[in-house]
């Protein structure tokens, strides 16, 4: 349970973030602002993957696939009606005549991604071990192929461009907050403890009455939902989406963020996502001037190797900073109050 002062800290941090965005939008140019948007999207991706991989111990690589599902769903729903008939001839009439505003479109995109993860999760999560990694790897390919071949709905390999620029920092920040809230709430709750128990020892968890399949599928779906939303935000930040937008390399980048931050630590994923995505952007001018591309990835890989050698549990391990964790402050009183 949280103390009042801890709640105030959370509210304070959220307000400080809002203030920061207010200042950024006032003083920074559009290029920097779009980079900030990407940083926020990476935070959503890393923290949500941490719920699946870090809390529940499911090694999923499926985030790009779920982003693609969410991104395309959202893009089709917000696509201007007058251009729909020409670009997307295969849409059924009721869909061709619909144009949703951003928030419901994002939600539906996320729900579709969660539905996709349910279809994968139900058969695969019955198995033990790392089958999920292989299966989700396959899903990235399957989703790409499907999108490429469903030309009437997705415009095939050309992708959808000229999407309305709906994503701004406020939208990203709202979803960052929702993601952090979900992660935090789950981690410090009975439901979250059942997820952690599965990660630590699935047989013991099973023998304590925890339904492994159900809990795992739920963990995968939460991650997929947020990835789907992130895909929608991404599409409307870049204002274009193609089957190749969300590739395996992206899955790799997000996994690295989770591992380096410490799988199981929300704070760790948050910081790792911020640092890595800013680092990659920082190397971009260098790459362009030297005409050597991929320096960012090399540095990313080097950091991963060093972390795996010297601090395999990641920067934060599985824990959060003590001053943010519930119950730590009054550890001597028997039953913690509210």
């Amino acid at each position: 349970m949280y103390t009042l002062s801890q709640r105030l800290v959370f509210i304070g941090l959220a307000l400080a973030g809002g203030l920061l965005i207010l200042l950024m939008r006032q003083f920074l140019n559009d290029y920097i602002l779009s980079i900030a948007g990407f940083v926020g999207i990476y935070v959503i991706l890393a923290v949500s993957l941490n719920i699946t991989n870090g809390f529940t111990g499911l090694f999923s690589l499926g985030h790009p696939a779920f982003m693609a599902i969410g991104g395309y769903t959202c893009a089709i729903l917000t696509f201007p009606v007058q251009r729909k008939g020409y670009f997307l001839s295969g849409l059924p009439d009721w869909l061709a005549g619909t144009e949703l505003s951003f928030f419901p479109a994002l939600l539906i995109g996320g729900l579709f991604a969660a539905l996709g993860s349910l279809l994968i999760g139900l058969p695969v999560l019955r198995l033990r071990g790392h089958y999920l990694a292989v299966a989700t790897l396959g899903v990235i390919i399957i989703v790409q192929v499907l999108i490429t071949n469903m030309g009437g709905i997705t415009r095939g390999p050309l992708g959808l461009n000229g999407l309305p620029t709906l994503t701004n920092l406020w939208w990203v920040y709202l979803w960052v907050l929702i993601t952090l809230y979900l992660g935090w709430k789950l981690k410090f709750s009975s439901f979250g403890r059942s997820m952690l128990a599965i990660r630590e020892d699935e047989m013991a968890a099973d023998c304590l009455g925890i339904n492994l399949l159900r809990t795992r599928v739920q963990a995968l779906m939460v991650g997929a939902f947020l990835a789907g939303v992130a895909g929608g935000l991404w599409a409307h930040l870049v204002t274009a989406i193609t089957p190749k937008s969300f590739s395996l390399i992206l899955a790799f980048t997000i996994v690295v963020m989770v591992v380096v931050g410490g799988s199981g630590s929300i704070t760790g994923s948050l910081l790792a996502a911020v640092i890595f995505s800013m680092l990659t952007e920082a190397f971009r001018p260098l790459e362009e001037s030297l005409n050597v591309y991929g320096i960012g990835e090399i540095v990313l890989s080097l950091i991963l190797i060093l972390i795996l050698i010297y601090r395999p549990i990641g920067l934060f391990g599985t824990s959060e900073p003590g001053w943010l964790s519930p119950g730590k402050r009054k550890s001597l009183s028997g039953t913690a109050g509210d």
């Binding site: 439901f191 952690l196 013991a204 968890a205 099973d206 039953t335």
Partner: protein
């Protein structure tokens, strides 16, 4: 010492249970009957099939044939979590704690099944969620206190010494509010002093909750002192069942343990 004579209703009944792993017959025509409130001992030399019995009872393994009835209900094809929900709780021979979680969180995780809330009420912070978290915290504190684990509640489970880890595991099994508690070699790897302590704890739990407990032990002397009724298992078959005195004096038991001459040698360790 025990209240086994007050209620003679049968809680668990196992009939003609067979289990084979490939060509190896691990259990042959196994039978067991446990009464409500009994403290029962299951002993046998290494490799006799004791842990296999527990794995079948808890649903970790499924029998090749035969029936397991738990308070009249056939549970032989249940998954472990289903058995746990019916009130069957167990510990493991090679301790399986949630190593990275604190002692307190290990116990709280066990309270999830009887008391915890699920996804939506957690995420939406419904009133039921706060109530359940408060109740879990209260009962976990009580459970920790009862097993004298309160001083270690913020320690990570994996950092505790062996004897305490065992204690945490028993506390965790108790937290899932079982009707039948299966303890798999609780004294394995403990020194005589720790063993004695543990046996006292088991007896006090048994008396306090009127709980039915089935205890697997490799070391005969451990169970002799506390279990009024004992079953001996050897090479997957029930050798005999009876009071400690009857067991101690039976030549077949002595033979099984001390390895009197026989054609097949079974591994001594």
């Amino acid at each position: 010492m025990t209240g086994s004579n007050t209620l003679q209703s049968e809680l668990l009944s196992v009939e003609h249970l067979y289990k084979s792993f490939g060509g190896i017959q691990a259990l042959t025509d196994y039978g067991l009957s446990l009464n409500q409130g009994e403290l029962f001992g299951l002993i046998g030399p290494n490799g006799a099939g004791k842990t296999t019995v527990f794995n079948l009872l808890s649903g970790v393994l499924h029998p090749s044939s035969g029936r397991i009835l738990f308070s009249g209900r056939d549970i032989s094809s249940n998954r472990p979590y289903q058995n746990a929900r019916l009130g069957l709780s167990r510990t493991f021979q090679n301790i399986r704690l949630f190593g990275d979680l604190t002692v307190e969180d290990n116990i709280k995780a066990a309270f999830h099944m009887p008391l915890g809330t699920h996804f939506w009420s957690t995420v939406l912070h419904l009133p039921g969620f706060m109530r359940s978290e408060r109740e879990i915290a209260r009962q976990a504190a009580e459970c920790l206190h009862l097993l004298e684990l309160a001083p270690y509640r913020q320690e990570k489970a994996r950092n505790l010494p062996f004897g305490l880890q065992r204690r945490v595991e028993i506390a965790r099994a108790l937290a899932s509010s079982p009707r039948l508690l299966l303890l798999d070699e609780p004294a394995a790897g403990m020194n005589p002093h720790e063993t004695e302590d543990l046996m006292e704890t088991i007896q006090s739990i048994h008396a306090r909750y009127q709980l039915t407990i089935c205890l697997v032990e490799h070391d005969m002397n451990v169970v002799m002192g506390i279990c009024p009724r004992i079953q001996v298992l050897d090479q997957g078959r029930v050798l005999m069942e009876g009071s400690p005195q009857e067991i101690q004096n039976d030549p077949r038991v002595i033979k099984a343990y001390l390895g009197a001459p026989r054609e097949e040698c079974h591994a001594e360790n």
